[in-house]
Subunit: 165 residues, 2 copies
């Protein structure tokens, strides 16, 4: 390779994935703080999920990721039965939009505090829900893969939430 | 690092991203071949883009990516003024759904033929539309970054196209 050593290349490559998470997270954040109470309760398309459900779903997913990456314990486990195990309009009581916005900010702050301090080697460690044995068989079950799949998940729902504006 | 050398780590890291492109591309493909002529002409949400527009838009974007990655020349430049420079319902004549599905398959085949033969070092080379000077100033303007941003773009529109079903 002409201008990189492998370890510099690894650092650059990992950085690109971190930037991709941060970019879509910022885009989502800028959208969410722009939405009114009325807009967040709208469906993204007739008879589909409402914005408020997708917001809770994204908080829960990021909260789980924080645990999988070993950054912290899950902070809002009470959201899982409402926004992950159950579909929208399940009859379960949702927290208020203002409360969810606070949870959303908190969870993103925790991500930010940790995400940029990880070395490329740490990103390639096993994530918290795979056993040592399974990880030996399949080293792609690492922390970086969790970040990549959650970045794609974030973009998937970003494409839906923009429909509320 | 306990079980990888840097060059193996770099190979694994790059592979994760290729897999992320392929996964969302397969999900999109499985959706598109399932959609009827009637469904693809529906709007993803009232007064928003129609499925047929997003399909053309995704073909055009991938076609441009193939050129940026240096895999091949642009194959369908005539789609850009319809699906990238213009919004949906611009009055421009769209190719038939069947024709777009053929273009979609072709473009994905070209990607597949090349994407897995690239070395990690090649992914970190400059993409085709950045100058040598600008690339020296900012080595993140590489081919891997193009793939990452297009993977996120693909997931963004996948989240919208599923609303047609």
């Amino acid at each position: 390779m002409s201008h990189f050593k492998s370890d510099e290349a690894l650092l650059l490559t990992t950085k690109l994935y971190i930037e991709a998470w941060l970019l879509s997270n910022r885009r989502l954040h800028n959208l969410i703080i722009k939405l009114s109470e009325e807009e967040i309760y709208k469906e993204i398309s007739p008879e589909r999920n409402r914005g408020i459900y997708l917001l809770g779903h994204l908080i829960s997913t990021t909260d789980t990721m924080i645990e999988l990456l070993g950054f912290d314990k899950k902070r809002y486990p009470e959201l899982d039965p409402i926004f992950v195990s159950a579909p929208d309009k399940s009859g379960k009581i949702f927290p208020d939009f203002e409360v969810l916005k606070q949870n959303w900010e908190k969870i993103n702050t925790v991500m930010l505090e940790h995400i940029e301090n990880m070395s490329p080697e740490q990103w390639l460690e096993k994530h918290a829900s795979v056993s040592e044995d399974d990880f030996k068989k399949d080293p792609t079950r690492n922390k970086l893969n969790v970040l990549i799949s959650r970045t794609n998940h974030q973009n998937y729902h970003l494409g839906q939430l923009v429909l509320l504006l």
